[in-house]
Symmetry: C2
Subunit: 315 residues, 2 copies
Amino acid sequence: MGVDIGGTKVAAGLVDHEGEIREQRRTPMVANQDAAAGLAAVVSAIDSLLQHAPGAKSSIGGIGICAPGPLDPYTGLVINPPNLPCWRGFPLAAEISRIYRVPVKVDNDANAAALAEVRWGAGRGYSKVFYATIGTGIGTGIVFDGAIYHGRTGAAGEGGHMSIDYRGPRCGCGKPGCIEVLASGPAIARRARARLSESGGASLLRDLAGGEINAVTTEMVGRAYAAGDALATQVLEEIVELLTVWLSNIVDLLEPDIMIVGGGVAKMLSGFFARIRNRLPQVCVNPRPQEIPLVLARYEAEAGIAGGAALCWNN
Amino acid sequence: MGVDIGGTKVAAGLVDHEGEIREQRRTPMVANQDAAAGLAAVVSAIDSLLQHAPGAKSSIGGIGICAPGPLDPYTGLVINPPNLPCWRGFPLAAEISRIYRVPVKVDNDANAAALAEVRWGAGRGYSKVFYATIGTGIGTGIVFDGAIYHGRTGAAGEGGHMSIDYRGPRCGCGKPGCIEVLASGPAIARRARARLSESGGASLLRDLAGGEINAVTTEMVGRAYAAGDALATQVLEEIVELLTVWLSNIVDLLEPDIMIVGGGVAKMLSGFFARIRNRLPQVCVNPRPQEIPLVLARYEAEAGIAGGAALCWNN
Protein backbone atom coordinates (compact mmCIF):
# COMPACT_ATOMS: atom_id res chain seq x y z
CA MET A 1 0.00 0.00 0.00
CA GLY A 2 1.16 3.50 -0.84
CA VAL A 3 -0.04 6.52 1.14
CA ASP A 4 0.57 10.09 -0.01
CA ILE A 5 0.14 12.69 2.70
CA GLY A 6 -0.17 16.34 1.71
CA GLY A 7 -1.16 19.43 3.62
CA THR A 8 -4.83 19.11 2.64
CA LYS A 9 -5.42 15.51 1.57
CA VAL A 10 -4.36 11.92 2.06
CA ALA A 11 -4.36 9.49 -0.87
CA ALA A 12 -4.05 5.79 -0.21
CA GLY A 13 -3.78 3.11 -2.89
CA LEU A 14 -3.14 -0.56 -3.41
CA VAL A 15 -0.30 -1.22 -5.85
CA ASP A 16 0.42 -4.56 -7.46
CA HIS A 17 3.75 -6.08 -8.40
CA GLU A 18 3.64 -4.41 -11.83
CA GLY A 19 3.17 -1.00 -10.27
CA GLU A 20 -0.48 -0.79 -11.29
CA ILE A 21 -2.67 1.09 -8.85
CA ARG A 22 -5.62 -1.23 -8.21
CA GLU A 23 -7.73 0.80 -5.79
CA GLN A 24 -7.36 4.22 -4.30
CA ARG A 25 -9.09 6.60 -1.92
CA ARG A 26 -8.57 10.30 -1.26
CA THR A 27 -9.68 11.78 2.05
CA PRO A 28 -9.05 15.14 3.75
CA MET A 29 -5.90 15.65 5.83
CA VAL A 30 -6.18 17.37 9.20
CA ALA A 31 -2.81 19.10 9.31
CA ASN A 32 -3.32 21.96 11.73
CA GLN A 33 -4.71 20.21 14.82
CA ASP A 34 -2.83 17.94 17.19
CA ALA A 35 -0.70 14.93 16.33
CA ALA A 36 -3.46 12.45 17.12
CA ALA A 37 -5.91 14.18 14.77
CA GLY A 38 -3.31 14.09 12.00
CA LEU A 39 -2.73 10.39 12.61
CA ALA A 40 -6.49 9.72 12.68
CA ALA A 41 -6.85 11.35 9.26
CA VAL A 42 -4.24 9.03 7.80
CA VAL A 43 -5.80 5.99 9.49
CA SER A 44 -9.18 7.03 8.10
CA ALA A 45 -7.76 7.05 4.54
CA ILE A 46 -6.18 3.63 5.01
CA ASP A 47 -9.32 2.16 6.57
CA SER A 48 -11.48 3.56 3.81
CA LEU A 49 -9.26 1.88 1.23
CA LEU A 50 -9.22 -1.43 3.10
CA GLN A 51 -13.02 -1.43 3.46
CA HIS A 52 -13.34 -0.91 -0.23
CA ALA A 53 -11.00 -3.79 -1.07
CA PRO A 54 -12.05 -6.87 0.88
CA GLY A 55 -9.24 -9.30 1.39
CA ALA A 56 -6.61 -6.63 0.85
CA LYS A 57 -5.73 -6.40 4.51
CA SER A 58 -4.24 -9.87 4.56
CA SER A 59 -2.31 -9.43 1.31
CA ILE A 60 -0.57 -6.16 2.13
CA GLY A 61 3.19 -6.63 2.47
CA GLY A 62 3.79 -3.19 3.89
CA ILE A 63 2.71 0.43 3.92
CA GLY A 64 4.93 3.07 2.36
CA ILE A 65 4.16 6.69 3.11
CA CYS A 66 5.17 9.86 1.29
CA ALA A 67 5.15 12.85 3.60
CA PRO A 68 6.45 16.40 3.33
CA GLY A 69 9.96 16.89 4.74
CA PRO A 70 11.99 17.35 6.73
CA LEU A 71 11.72 13.79 7.91
CA ASP A 72 14.07 10.96 8.79
CA PRO A 73 13.66 8.12 6.31
CA TYR A 74 15.91 5.89 8.38
CA THR A 75 13.55 5.95 11.39
CA GLY A 76 10.26 7.12 9.87
CA LEU A 77 10.22 10.21 12.08
CA VAL A 78 8.46 13.31 10.77
CA ILE A 79 10.57 16.24 11.98
CA ASN A 80 8.78 19.57 11.46
CA PRO A 81 7.18 20.02 8.02
CA PRO A 82 5.81 23.53 7.43
CA ASN A 83 2.80 21.94 5.69
CA LEU A 84 2.03 19.55 8.56
CA PRO A 85 2.22 21.64 11.73
CA CYS A 86 0.40 18.83 13.58
CA TRP A 87 3.55 16.73 13.59
CA ARG A 88 6.83 17.74 15.14
CA GLY A 89 9.16 14.86 15.92
CA PHE A 90 6.28 12.48 15.25
CA PRO A 91 7.12 8.75 14.86
CA LEU A 92 4.77 8.23 11.90
CA ALA A 93 6.21 4.90 10.75
CA ALA A 94 6.09 3.42 14.24
CA GLU A 95 2.50 4.58 14.85
CA ILE A 96 1.15 3.23 11.57
CA SER A 97 3.09 0.00 12.00
CA ARG A 98 1.64 -0.41 15.51
CA ILE A 99 -1.91 -0.07 14.18
CA TYR A 100 -1.66 -2.25 11.07
CA ARG A 101 1.11 -4.64 12.14
CA VAL A 102 3.02 -4.48 8.86
CA PRO A 103 6.38 -2.90 7.99
CA VAL A 104 6.07 0.85 7.35
CA LYS A 105 8.50 3.13 5.53
CA VAL A 106 8.32 6.92 5.30
CA ASP A 107 10.12 9.09 2.78
CA ASN A 108 9.67 12.34 0.95
CA ASP A 109 7.54 12.35 -2.17
CA ALA A 110 10.24 12.98 -4.77
CA ASN A 111 12.54 10.27 -3.38
CA ALA A 112 9.67 7.81 -3.32
CA ALA A 113 8.48 8.75 -6.81
CA ALA A 114 12.03 8.29 -8.10
CA LEU A 115 12.07 4.79 -6.65
CA ALA A 116 8.69 3.97 -8.22
CA GLU A 117 10.07 5.01 -11.63
CA VAL A 118 13.07 2.74 -11.17
CA ARG A 119 10.96 -0.16 -9.98
CA TRP A 120 8.03 0.09 -12.37
CA GLY A 121 8.39 3.08 -14.65
CA ALA A 122 10.79 4.94 -16.93
CA GLY A 123 13.85 4.06 -14.87
CA ARG A 124 13.60 0.28 -15.08
CA GLY A 125 16.98 -1.31 -15.76
CA TYR A 126 19.05 1.79 -14.99
CA SER A 127 21.51 1.86 -12.12
CA LYS A 128 22.11 5.62 -11.66
CA VAL A 129 18.85 7.52 -11.91
CA PHE A 130 18.09 11.21 -11.48
CA TYR A 131 14.40 12.03 -11.12
CA ALA A 132 12.80 15.45 -10.96
CA THR A 133 9.20 16.46 -10.45
CA ILE A 134 8.32 19.93 -11.63
CA GLY A 135 5.10 21.41 -10.34
CA THR A 136 4.37 23.92 -7.60
CA GLY A 137 7.94 23.23 -6.52
CA ILE A 138 10.79 21.22 -7.95
CA GLY A 139 11.57 18.03 -6.09
CA THR A 140 14.27 15.55 -7.02
CA GLY A 141 15.39 12.08 -6.07
CA ILE A 142 18.52 10.06 -6.74
CA VAL A 143 18.41 6.27 -6.98
CA PHE A 144 21.63 4.26 -7.13
CA ASP A 145 21.44 0.52 -7.77
CA GLY A 146 17.78 0.38 -6.84
CA ALA A 147 18.09 2.27 -3.55
CA ILE A 148 17.27 5.89 -2.76
CA TYR A 149 20.41 7.95 -2.10
CA HIS A 150 19.69 9.57 1.26
CA GLY A 151 22.91 11.28 2.28
CA ARG A 152 24.19 11.83 5.79
CA THR A 153 20.87 12.26 7.63
CA GLY A 154 18.32 11.50 4.91
CA ALA A 155 18.10 15.06 3.62
CA ALA A 156 19.97 14.56 0.33
CA GLY A 157 18.36 14.69 -3.09
CA GLU A 158 17.10 18.26 -2.84
CA GLY A 159 18.19 19.19 -6.35
CA GLY A 160 15.35 21.70 -6.68
CA HIS A 161 17.26 23.85 -4.24
CA MET A 162 20.39 24.03 -6.31
CA SER A 163 21.09 27.57 -7.39
CA ILE A 164 22.03 28.53 -10.92
CA ASP A 165 21.86 32.24 -10.15
CA TYR A 166 23.71 33.38 -7.06
CA ARG A 167 22.46 36.93 -7.63
CA GLY A 168 18.89 35.75 -8.25
CA PRO A 169 15.63 35.92 -6.31
CA ARG A 170 15.76 34.30 -2.90
CA CYS A 171 14.04 30.96 -2.35
CA GLY A 172 12.20 29.97 0.81
CA CYS A 173 15.25 27.87 1.68
CA GLY A 174 17.31 31.04 1.86
CA LYS A 175 19.43 30.42 -1.21
CA PRO A 176 19.41 32.91 -4.09
CA GLY A 177 18.39 31.61 -7.49
CA CYS A 178 17.31 28.04 -6.73
CA ILE A 179 15.95 26.37 -9.84
CA GLU A 180 12.65 25.98 -7.96
CA VAL A 181 12.26 29.76 -7.73
CA LEU A 182 13.26 30.19 -11.37
CA ALA A 183 11.48 27.37 -13.20
CA SER A 184 8.67 25.77 -11.20
CA GLY A 185 5.02 26.15 -12.20
CA PRO A 186 4.49 29.43 -10.34
CA ALA A 187 7.72 30.79 -11.84
CA ILE A 188 6.35 30.04 -15.33
CA ALA A 189 3.15 31.95 -14.58
CA ARG A 190 5.11 34.86 -13.06
CA ARG A 191 7.38 35.04 -16.08
CA ALA A 192 4.41 34.97 -18.46
CA ARG A 193 2.74 37.82 -16.57
CA ALA A 194 5.95 39.84 -16.71
CA ARG A 195 6.36 39.26 -20.46
CA LEU A 196 2.72 40.22 -21.06
CA SER A 197 3.16 43.44 -19.09
CA GLU A 198 6.29 44.32 -21.04
CA SER A 199 5.00 43.48 -24.49
CA GLY A 200 1.55 44.99 -24.49
CA GLY A 201 0.99 43.10 -27.75
CA ALA A 202 -1.58 40.47 -28.65
CA SER A 203 -1.31 37.01 -27.14
CA LEU A 204 -3.70 34.15 -26.76
CA LEU A 205 -2.62 34.20 -23.14
CA ARG A 206 -4.24 37.58 -22.68
CA ASP A 207 -7.53 36.20 -24.01
CA LEU A 208 -7.34 33.05 -21.89
CA ALA A 209 -6.93 35.22 -18.82
CA GLY A 210 -9.86 37.44 -19.79
CA GLY A 211 -7.58 40.42 -20.23
CA GLU A 212 -6.43 40.19 -16.60
CA ILE A 213 -2.68 39.69 -16.66
CA ASN A 214 -2.68 38.73 -12.99
CA ALA A 215 -5.14 35.92 -13.73
CA VAL A 216 -2.62 34.12 -15.96
CA THR A 217 -1.87 30.62 -14.67
CA THR A 218 0.78 28.07 -15.53
CA GLU A 219 -1.88 25.93 -17.13
CA MET A 220 -2.93 28.82 -19.41
CA VAL A 221 0.68 29.19 -20.54
CA GLY A 222 0.63 25.51 -21.46
CA ARG A 223 -2.60 25.88 -23.44
CA ALA A 224 -1.38 28.99 -25.25
CA TYR A 225 1.91 27.27 -26.12
CA ALA A 226 0.05 24.20 -27.42
CA ALA A 227 -1.96 26.54 -29.64
CA GLY A 228 1.23 28.09 -31.03
CA ASP A 229 1.17 31.39 -29.15
CA ALA A 230 4.49 33.21 -29.62
CA LEU A 231 4.70 34.80 -26.18
CA ALA A 232 3.91 31.54 -24.35
CA THR A 233 6.50 29.76 -26.50
CA GLN A 234 9.10 32.37 -25.64
CA VAL A 235 8.36 32.02 -21.93
CA LEU A 236 8.74 28.25 -22.07
CA GLU A 237 11.94 28.55 -24.11
CA GLU A 238 13.41 30.74 -21.39
CA ILE A 239 12.37 28.23 -18.72
CA VAL A 240 13.85 25.40 -20.79
CA GLU A 241 17.19 27.21 -21.01
CA LEU A 242 17.27 27.52 -17.21
CA LEU A 243 16.43 23.84 -16.83
CA THR A 244 19.14 22.97 -19.34
CA VAL A 245 21.83 24.72 -17.28
CA TRP A 246 20.49 23.02 -14.16
CA LEU A 247 20.47 19.58 -15.79
CA SER A 248 23.95 20.21 -17.18
CA ASN A 249 25.09 20.68 -13.57
CA ILE A 250 23.52 17.34 -12.67
CA VAL A 251 25.16 15.66 -15.66
CA ASP A 252 28.61 17.05 -14.89
CA LEU A 253 28.41 16.11 -11.21
CA LEU A 254 26.51 12.80 -11.32
CA GLU A 255 26.50 11.63 -14.95
CA PRO A 256 23.38 9.54 -14.37
CA ASP A 257 22.28 6.73 -16.69
CA ILE A 258 18.93 8.43 -17.23
CA MET A 259 17.07 11.59 -16.24
CA ILE A 260 13.32 11.27 -15.62
CA VAL A 261 11.00 14.25 -15.31
CA GLY A 262 7.51 14.13 -13.85
CA GLY A 263 5.04 16.49 -12.23
CA GLY A 264 2.40 18.83 -13.54
CA VAL A 265 4.75 20.93 -15.63
CA ALA A 266 6.68 18.03 -17.15
CA LYS A 267 4.19 17.19 -19.87
CA MET A 268 3.95 20.83 -20.90
CA LEU A 269 7.72 20.84 -21.39
CA SER A 270 8.14 17.39 -22.91
CA GLY A 271 8.18 18.80 -26.45
CA PHE A 272 11.45 20.49 -25.48
CA PHE A 273 13.23 17.36 -24.18
CA ALA A 274 14.98 16.64 -27.49
CA ARG A 275 16.13 20.26 -27.66
CA ILE A 276 17.53 20.06 -24.12
CA ARG A 277 19.47 16.90 -24.93
CA ASN A 278 20.85 18.41 -28.11
CA ARG A 279 21.95 21.51 -26.26
CA LEU A 280 23.66 19.68 -23.36
CA PRO A 281 26.94 19.08 -25.26
CA GLN A 282 27.33 22.86 -25.62
CA VAL A 283 27.09 23.43 -21.86
CA CYS A 284 28.63 20.30 -20.32
CA VAL A 285 32.22 19.29 -19.75
CA ASN A 286 30.86 15.74 -20.00
CA PRO A 287 31.92 14.39 -23.39
CA ARG A 288 28.62 12.64 -24.30
CA PRO A 289 25.72 14.12 -22.32
CA GLN A 290 23.33 13.79 -25.25
CA GLU A 291 23.47 10.02 -24.82
CA ILE A 292 21.72 10.24 -21.46
CA PRO A 293 17.99 9.64 -21.97
CA LEU A 294 15.73 12.47 -20.78
CA VAL A 295 12.23 11.09 -20.50
CA LEU A 296 8.79 11.67 -19.03
CA ALA A 297 7.90 9.83 -15.84
CA ARG A 298 5.37 7.00 -15.93
CA TYR A 299 3.47 8.28 -12.91
CA GLU A 300 1.69 11.61 -12.82
CA ALA A 301 -0.88 12.41 -10.11
CA GLU A 302 -0.40 8.93 -8.66
CA ALA A 303 3.35 9.27 -8.19
CA GLY A 304 2.90 9.56 -4.42
CA ILE A 305 0.86 6.36 -4.13
CA ALA A 306 3.19 4.42 -6.42
CA GLY A 307 6.19 5.93 -4.64
CA GLY A 308 4.90 4.94 -1.24
CA ALA A 309 4.32 1.40 -2.43
CA ALA A 310 7.80 1.30 -3.98
CA LEU A 311 9.30 2.07 -0.57
CA CYS A 312 7.79 -1.21 0.65
CA TRP A 313 8.70 -3.30 -2.35
CA ASN A 314 12.23 -2.15 -1.78
CA ASN A 315 12.36 -3.85 1.57
CA MET B 1 53.37 3.59 -6.84
CA GLY B 2 51.51 6.75 -7.78
CA VAL B 3 52.22 8.59 -11.02
CA ASP B 4 50.90 12.08 -11.70
CA ILE B 5 50.96 13.08 -15.36
CA GLY B 6 50.52 16.73 -16.28
CA GLY B 7 51.02 18.64 -19.49
CA THR B 8 54.63 19.53 -18.65
CA LYS B 9 55.85 17.07 -16.01
CA VAL B 10 55.50 13.58 -14.65
CA ALA B 11 55.82 12.92 -10.93
CA ALA B 12 56.25 9.38 -9.69
CA GLY B 13 56.34 8.35 -6.04
CA LEU B 14 56.38 5.34 -3.76
CA VAL B 15 53.61 5.43 -1.16
CA ASP B 16 53.45 3.21 1.90
CA HIS B 17 50.39 1.76 3.62
CA GLU B 18 50.02 4.86 5.80
CA GLY B 19 49.94 7.10 2.74
CA GLU B 20 53.42 8.47 3.37
CA ILE B 21 55.35 9.29 0.21
CA ARG B 22 58.71 7.56 0.64
CA GLU B 23 60.51 8.51 -2.55
CA GLN B 24 59.58 10.64 -5.51
CA ARG B 25 60.96 11.85 -8.83
CA ARG B 26 59.78 14.57 -11.17
CA THR B 27 60.74 14.46 -14.83
CA PRO B 28 59.57 16.37 -17.90
CA MET B 29 56.49 15.22 -19.82
CA VAL B 30 56.59 15.11 -23.60
CA ALA B 31 52.99 15.91 -24.38
CA ASN B 32 53.08 17.29 -27.90
CA GLN B 33 54.91 14.57 -29.80
CA ASP B 34 53.61 11.13 -30.68
CA ALA B 35 52.03 8.56 -28.39
CA ALA B 36 55.25 6.57 -28.02
CA ALA B 37 57.21 9.65 -26.92
CA GLY B 38 54.54 10.41 -24.32
CA LEU B 39 54.71 6.86 -23.04
CA ALA B 40 58.52 6.95 -22.98
CA ALA B 41 58.41 10.08 -20.80
CA VAL B 42 56.20 8.31 -18.26
CA VAL B 43 58.39 5.20 -18.34
CA SER B 44 61.43 7.38 -17.80
CA ALA B 45 59.86 8.85 -14.64
CA ILE B 46 58.97 5.41 -13.30
CA ASP B 47 62.43 3.99 -14.12
CA SER B 48 64.14 6.94 -12.49
CA LEU B 49 62.16 6.33 -9.31
CA LEU B 50 62.85 2.60 -9.34
CA GLN B 51 66.58 3.14 -9.86
CA HIS B 52 66.63 5.42 -6.86
CA ALA B 53 64.81 2.93 -4.64
CA PRO B 54 66.52 -0.43 -4.92
CA GLY B 55 64.23 -3.32 -4.05
CA ALA B 56 61.13 -1.24 -4.75
CA LYS B 57 60.39 -3.00 -7.99
CA SER B 58 59.59 -6.27 -6.28
CA SER B 59 57.45 -4.68 -3.55
CA ILE B 60 55.16 -2.59 -5.74
CA GLY B 61 51.60 -3.87 -5.63
CA GLY B 62 50.44 -1.74 -8.52
CA ILE B 63 50.81 1.54 -10.35
CA GLY B 64 48.06 4.13 -10.16
CA ILE B 65 48.17 7.00 -12.61
CA CYS B 66 46.50 10.41 -12.50
CA ALA B 67 46.05 11.85 -15.96
CA PRO B 68 44.11 14.76 -17.39
CA GLY B 69 40.64 13.87 -18.66
CA PRO B 70 38.66 12.91 -20.54
CA LEU B 71 39.65 9.33 -19.86
CA ASP B 72 37.93 6.06 -19.14
CA PRO B 73 38.75 4.90 -15.62
CA TYR B 74 37.05 1.57 -16.26
CA THR B 75 39.50 0.60 -19.03
CA GLY B 76 42.43 2.96 -18.41
CA LEU B 77 42.01 4.55 -21.83
CA VAL B 78 43.09 8.17 -22.29
CA ILE B 79 40.53 9.68 -24.65
CA ASN B 80 41.62 13.12 -25.89
CA PRO B 81 42.94 15.46 -23.20
CA PRO B 82 43.63 19.01 -24.45
CA ASN B 83 46.80 19.04 -22.30
CA LEU B 84 48.11 15.76 -23.70
CA PRO B 85 47.69 15.97 -27.47
CA CYS B 86 50.08 13.02 -27.83
CA TRP B 87 47.39 10.64 -26.64
CA ARG B 88 44.06 10.11 -28.35
CA GLY B 89 42.34 6.86 -27.51
CA PHE B 90 45.59 5.68 -25.92
CA PRO B 91 45.45 2.53 -23.73
CA LEU B 92 47.71 3.95 -21.01
CA ALA B 93 46.87 1.40 -18.31
CA ALA B 94 47.43 -1.55 -20.66
CA GLU B 95 50.77 -0.16 -21.93
CA ILE B 96 52.19 0.52 -18.46
CA SER B 97 50.92 -2.81 -17.18
CA ARG B 98 52.58 -4.59 -20.13
CA ILE B 99 55.93 -2.99 -19.30
CA TYR B 100 55.96 -3.39 -15.52
CA ARG B 101 53.76 -6.48 -15.15
CA VAL B 102 51.67 -5.10 -12.27
CA PRO B 103 48.03 -3.96 -12.10
CA VAL B 104 47.61 -0.39 -13.38
CA LYS B 105 44.70 1.98 -12.78
CA VAL B 106 44.15 5.36 -14.43
CA ASP B 107 41.84 8.09 -13.18
CA ASN B 108 41.61 11.84 -13.18
CA ASP B 109 43.55 13.77 -10.56
CA ALA B 110 40.63 15.06 -8.47
CA ASN B 111 38.98 11.64 -8.26
CA ALA B 112 42.26 10.03 -7.26
CA ALA B 113 43.07 12.75 -4.73
CA ALA B 114 39.60 12.32 -3.21
CA LEU B 115 40.30 8.62 -2.77
CA ALA B 116 43.69 9.33 -1.17
CA GLU B 117 41.99 11.60 1.37
CA VAL B 118 39.46 8.88 2.22
CA ARG B 119 42.15 6.22 2.49
CA TRP B 120 44.87 8.14 4.31
CA GLY B 121 43.82 11.75 4.86
CA ALA B 122 41.04 13.98 6.07
CA GLY B 123 38.29 11.65 4.86
CA ARG B 124 39.22 8.57 6.86
CA GLY B 125 36.17 6.93 8.40
CA TYR B 126 33.59 8.82 6.31
CA SER B 127 31.31 7.03 3.90
CA LYS B 128 30.04 9.92 1.70
CA VAL B 129 32.88 12.25 0.84
CA PHE B 130 32.95 15.32 -1.37
CA TYR B 131 36.43 16.54 -2.28
CA ALA B 132 37.37 19.68 -4.15
CA THR B 133 40.74 20.96 -5.26
CA ILE B 134 40.90 24.67 -5.96
CA GLY B 135 43.86 25.90 -7.96
CA THR B 136 44.23 26.85 -11.61
CA GLY B 137 40.91 25.09 -12.04
CA ILE B 138 38.41 23.52 -9.67
CA GLY B 139 38.33 19.75 -9.72
CA THR B 140 36.11 17.58 -7.55
CA GLY B 141 35.70 13.95 -6.65
CA ILE B 142 32.97 11.97 -4.92
CA VAL B 143 33.78 8.87 -2.88
CA PHE B 144 30.97 6.64 -1.62
CA ASP B 145 31.84 3.79 0.75
CA GLY B 146 35.50 3.90 -0.19
CA ALA B 147 35.00 3.86 -3.96
CA ILE B 148 35.17 6.72 -6.45
CA TYR B 149 31.74 7.57 -7.85
CA HIS B 150 32.30 7.46 -11.61
CA GLY B 151 28.87 7.83 -13.17
CA ARG B 152 27.69 6.36 -16.45
CA THR B 153 30.95 6.45 -18.43
CA GLY B 154 33.47 7.59 -15.82
CA ALA B 155 32.96 11.31 -16.43
CA ALA B 156 31.05 12.12 -13.21
CA GLY B 157 32.44 14.20 -10.37
CA GLU B 158 33.03 17.36 -12.38
CA GLY B 159 31.62 19.64 -9.71
CA GLY B 160 33.93 22.47 -10.77
CA HIS B 161 31.76 22.76 -13.86
CA MET B 162 28.54 23.35 -11.99
CA SER B 163 27.15 26.78 -12.74
CA ILE B 164 25.89 29.15 -10.07
CA ASP B 165 25.41 31.96 -12.55
CA TYR B 166 23.52 31.11 -15.71
CA ARG B 167 24.08 34.65 -16.99
CA GLY B 168 27.76 34.60 -16.04
CA PRO B 169 31.03 34.41 -17.97
CA ARG B 170 31.37 31.34 -20.18
CA CYS B 171 33.70 28.54 -19.11
CA GLY B 172 35.85 26.50 -21.48
CA CYS B 173 33.28 23.71 -21.07
CA GLY B 174 30.67 25.97 -22.65
CA LYS B 175 28.54 26.53 -19.58
CA PRO B 176 27.99 30.05 -18.28
CA GLY B 177 29.05 30.80 -14.72
CA CYS B 178 30.81 27.57 -13.72
CA ILE B 179 32.31 27.90 -10.26
CA GLU B 180 35.71 27.26 -11.89
CA VAL B 181 35.41 30.44 -13.93
CA LEU B 182 34.18 32.40 -10.90
CA ALA B 183 36.34 31.21 -8.02
CA SER B 184 39.50 29.38 -9.14
CA GLY B 185 42.96 30.86 -8.63
CA PRO B 186 42.97 32.86 -11.88
CA ALA B 187 39.49 34.17 -11.06
CA ILE B 188 40.80 35.47 -7.73
CA ALA B 189 43.62 37.33 -9.47
CA ARG B 190 41.23 38.71 -12.09
CA ARG B 191 38.83 39.91 -9.44
CA ALA B 192 41.65 41.55 -7.47
CA ARG B 193 42.84 43.38 -10.58
CA ALA B 194 39.33 44.58 -11.29
CA ARG B 195 38.85 45.83 -7.71
CA LEU B 196 42.21 47.61 -7.83
CA SER B 197 41.27 49.32 -11.09
CA GLU B 198 37.96 50.45 -9.65
CA SER B 199 39.23 51.65 -6.28
CA GLY B 200 42.35 53.59 -7.21
CA GLY B 201 43.12 53.68 -3.47
CA ALA B 202 46.07 52.32 -1.55
CA SER B 203 46.49 48.58 -1.19
CA LEU B 204 49.38 46.37 -0.25
CA LEU B 205 48.48 44.46 -3.38
CA ARG B 206 49.48 47.44 -5.51
CA ASP B 207 52.88 47.49 -3.82
CA LEU B 208 53.38 43.75 -4.16
CA ALA B 209 52.72 44.04 -7.87
CA GLY B 210 55.16 46.95 -8.21
CA GLY B 211 52.34 49.28 -9.20
CA GLU B 212 51.43 47.10 -12.17
CA ILE B 213 47.82 46.02 -11.70
CA ASN B 214 48.18 43.42 -14.44
CA ALA B 215 51.06 41.83 -12.54
CA VAL B 216 48.83 40.91 -9.60
CA THR B 217 48.80 37.15 -9.00
CA THR B 218 46.62 34.89 -6.87
CA GLU B 219 49.56 34.33 -4.57
CA MET B 220 49.94 38.10 -4.04
CA VAL B 221 46.28 38.30 -3.06
CA GLY B 222 46.97 35.61 -0.47
CA ARG B 223 49.97 37.48 0.91
CA ALA B 224 48.11 40.79 1.05
CA TYR B 225 45.18 39.15 2.81
CA ALA B 226 47.51 37.49 5.33
CA ALA B 227 48.94 40.94 6.05
CA GLY B 228 45.45 42.34 6.67
CA ASP B 229 44.98 44.26 3.42
CA ALA B 230 41.37 45.45 3.11
CA LEU B 231 41.02 45.09 -0.64
CA ALA B 232 42.49 41.58 -0.70
CA THR B 233 40.18 40.62 2.16
CA GLN B 234 37.18 41.96 0.28
CA VAL B 235 38.14 39.98 -2.82
CA LEU B 236 38.45 36.76 -0.86
CA GLU B 237 35.16 37.43 0.94
CA GLU B 238 33.45 37.71 -2.43
CA ILE B 239 35.05 34.45 -3.58
CA VAL B 240 34.04 32.77 -0.34
CA GLU B 241 30.40 33.81 -0.85
CA LEU B 242 30.45 32.20 -4.32
CA LEU B 243 31.98 29.03 -2.92
CA THR B 244 29.35 29.01 -0.17
CA VAL B 245 26.49 29.00 -2.69
CA TRP B 246 28.26 26.28 -4.65
CA LEU B 247 28.86 24.12 -1.56
CA SER B 248 25.26 24.70 -0.48
CA ASN B 249 24.22 23.14 -3.81
CA ILE B 250 26.42 20.15 -3.05
CA VAL B 251 24.98 19.85 0.45
CA ASP B 252 21.38 20.04 -0.73
CA LEU B 253 21.93 17.48 -3.49
CA LEU B 254 24.40 15.06 -1.88
CA GLU B 255 24.45 15.83 1.86
CA PRO B 256 27.93 14.32 2.23
CA ASP B 257 29.42 13.27 5.56
CA ILE B 258 32.38 15.59 5.04
CA MET B 259 33.67 18.16 2.54
CA ILE B 260 37.42 18.28 1.98
CA VAL B 261 39.16 21.11 0.14
CA GLY B 262 42.69 20.95 -1.23
CA GLY B 263 44.73 22.62 -3.93
CA GLY B 264 46.84 25.74 -4.05
CA VAL B 265 44.04 28.13 -3.13
CA ALA B 266 42.62 26.02 -0.29
CA LYS B 267 45.09 27.11 2.38
CA MET B 268 44.58 30.76 1.49
CA LEU B 269 40.86 30.30 2.10
CA SER B 270 41.03 28.01 5.13
CA GLY B 271 40.54 30.92 7.53
CA PHE B 272 37.07 31.27 6.03
CA PHE B 273 35.97 27.65 6.48
CA ALA B 274 34.22 28.33 9.81
CA ARG B 275 32.41 31.27 8.27
CA ILE B 276 31.24 29.12 5.34
CA ARG B 277 29.88 26.46 7.69
CA ASN B 278 28.09 29.05 9.78
CA ARG B 279 26.52 30.58 6.71
CA LEU B 280 25.33 27.31 5.15
CA PRO B 281 22.14 27.10 7.27
CA GLN B 282 21.03 30.42 5.76
CA VAL B 283 21.35 29.14 2.20
CA CYS B 284 20.49 25.43 2.45
CA VAL B 285 17.18 23.64 2.62
CA ASN B 286 19.16 20.98 4.49
CA PRO B 287 18.23 21.26 8.16
CA ARG B 288 21.71 20.83 9.64
CA PRO B 289 24.39 21.68 7.05
CA GLN B 290 26.66 23.26 9.66
CA GLU B 291 27.25 19.80 11.12
CA ILE B 292 29.09 18.69 7.98
CA PRO B 293 32.84 19.10 8.54
CA LEU B 294 34.59 21.37 6.02
CA VAL B 295 38.30 20.70 6.28
CA LEU B 296 41.63 21.12 4.53
CA ALA B 297 43.00 18.17 2.59
CA ARG B 298 46.01 16.26 3.93
CA TYR B 299 47.76 16.24 0.58
CA GLU B 300 48.93 19.37 -1.20
CA ALA B 301 51.41 19.23 -4.08
CA GLU B 302 51.67 15.48 -3.63
CA ALA B 303 47.94 14.84 -4.03
CA GLY B 304 48.52 13.34 -7.48
CA ILE B 305 51.12 10.84 -6.29
CA ALA B 306 49.09 9.87 -3.24
CA GLY B 307 45.95 9.73 -5.36
CA GLY B 308 47.56 7.48 -7.92
CA ALA B 309 48.74 5.13 -5.19
CA ALA B 310 45.26 5.16 -3.61
CA LEU B 311 43.83 3.86 -6.89
CA CYS B 312 45.98 0.77 -6.43
CA TRP B 313 45.34 0.26 -2.76
CA ASN B 314 41.70 0.30 -3.64
CA ASN B 315 42.10 -2.79 -5.74
